[in-house]
Amino acid sequence: MAEAPPYPLNIGPIHPALKEPTQFKFVIDGEHIRETDFQPGFNHRGVEYLGMKRNPLQVLHLAERVCGICSAAHQYVFCRAVEHAADIVPTERGDYLRAIVAELERIHSHLLWAGVAGHELGFDSILHYTWKVREDVQDILEILCGNRVNYAYYIFGGVRRDISKEDIAKCRKILSNYRKIEDTVLSIFFSDPTIIHRTKDVGVLTHENAVKLCACGPLTRGAGVKKDIRFDWPHGAYGDMMDDFKVVTPETMGYHATGDVFSQIVVRIGELFESVRMTEWLLDNMPSGPITSEPNLSALLMAKLRMAEGEGVARVEAPRGEDIHYVRLKKNKMEIDSWKIRVPTYGNIMSWLTMFKDQQIADIPIIIASIDPCIGCMDRVTLVRDGSQAEVDWKVLHDMSIEKSRRLMR
């Protein structure tokens, strides 16, 4: 006779609704989820350990490789943590250019998420549409930074590249295209019956739990908590924008903040177009002057960073939520003495687990995708062999590499 319910149900570690390795262990009773456990770590790369073996200029480029989607956020926050530790003050124009790239990254990340959410709901035409319009913002990022991902744009004291008048005109033209499609995107996401039926009252994070479990990013704002690092802790150019912009919550978009997946959609789509307006505001109000306070890299490394003694915490609002780095520097030591990264997904684990309670199995993919998880950020090679969970180590990879080379030589 079959065992009585509840039953265990493992989802992951391969492709648990998203193409990143992580595992959910559910206890189910019929179609309903009773308990949830979560296992990250399948892809832990030891980025902090690597960073503590390198000098800040080297770590700058390691930091942006923490994540491929919010790489600007990690480089931005690492720069600011080091500046806070070493008492380096960024230039005003540098502050504005930093914020422009951070907001453009939010636009591309939210569009990417919107496509993934549509895909999880079986609505692939949304995926195709949002990823098509996402190419425009990728073009602006390429104009500004020379690359679509891993921008290498930030440096201690400012940024590495200025923006020309011609490029500003190109950016404005592309941004105006986003203004034109705003009504279409809003009507797709806020009025479509399929989206409403699949996301309303699904994966609810209550206001109380959002506060108690210290959720961050669009997840917490969807529950009606007005936490947004850009406005709470007004760093960089954001301090200048306090009067012109407000935190986006479902209420500001004309909806109730119910904390379900639909509320998160409302926040992300609202923020997407708010970021378009913020980028235009930043271009309009950008001061002139130098883009960095110390253009000479040797002087920056040897005179400032090597001689610095101190610690600093920095936070930025990455597209997925609060990104915080802690850095400690020691005098006459080239390497970073201590480094801690906390990515938004890490901060949302505890909230995530409460969102599955009493939900249906069929809603697992959209609830997983709803917080816009980035496991690559949080962890840092995985393989399924014969259906068993396993990890590949250096030796196996090396043998596979040799085997492939020999195969190609035949």
Binding site: P40, P90, D95, K227, D232, G239, D240, V247, M350
Partner: protein, 206 residues
């Protein structure tokens, strides 16, 4: 309307309340960026281990404490763990980052858990146990979080002493876990051997 306290007032509050139990005098860093030079600040408070939970509770006297993460460092003879918070979160411009930390000697690597005060700290406390070899007394979930069998129990990646990963890193090509066929599963157990966290006696002998 709520009266928001500045970073200096928050530091002074900890200074007065925990006099005689502080590892160092609480200090404030204030920064001004952008064209308008809007100020924002961060406070660092380090208290002795026996009053650490009290200090975390004292933070609740300020509105809206938001826990983010704990960082940790090997200081040589001691291990330091810092919990990073923000008070006046969701206040549109009044947030202050407050870091509350404590230290423990390596011959007694234990610090108290803050999970009864802030339920969100459990993942980061699990990470501190497995990465620093420090026991968090009262932790709500004693399993490892990120590390796989590739890192044997007894090796703690952020330690800079004999319990650190240097030997492991040098021999990574030799498959130190002894996995045989090179496949390993995620560890689903305590980060410590049965006797508890590694104790480093003064004088250098483990």
């Amino acid at each position: 309307m709520m009266k928001y306290k500045s970073g200096d007032e928050i530091a002074a509050s900890f200074r007065n309340r925990f006099k005689g139990h502080l590892i160092e005098d609480p200090y404030v860093k204030t920064f001004r960026n952008g064209v308008k030079k809007t100020a924002y600040s961060q406070v660092f408070v380090r208290v002795k281990r026996e009053r650490f939970q009290d200090a975390a509770r004292h933070l609740k006297t300020f509105d809206g404490p938001h826990h983010t993460v704990a960082s940790g460092s090997d200081l040589g003879d001691e291990i330091e763990v810092l919990f990073h918070f923000e008070v006046y979160s969701a206040s549109h411009g009044h947030g202050v980052v407050v870091t509350i930390g404590t230290r423990c000697p390596k011959d007694d690597p234990h610090i108290p858990s803050l999970s009864d005060i802030y339920p969100s700290v459990t993942p980061t406390e699990r990470e501190k146990q497995e990465f620093l070899g420090v026991a968090i007394d009262g932790i709500k979930d004693n399993r490892r979080l990120f590390l796989t069998h590739a890192v044997p129990v007894g090796v703690y990646p952020w330690r800079k002493d004999e319990f650190g990963p240097e030997k492991l890193v040098r021999q990574v090509h030799k498959d130190p876990s002894g996995g045989g066929d090179g496949t390993r599963v995620i560890a689903d157990h305590s980060p410590f051997p049965p006797g508890g966290p590694p104790v480093k006696r003064k004088g250098g002998d483990a």
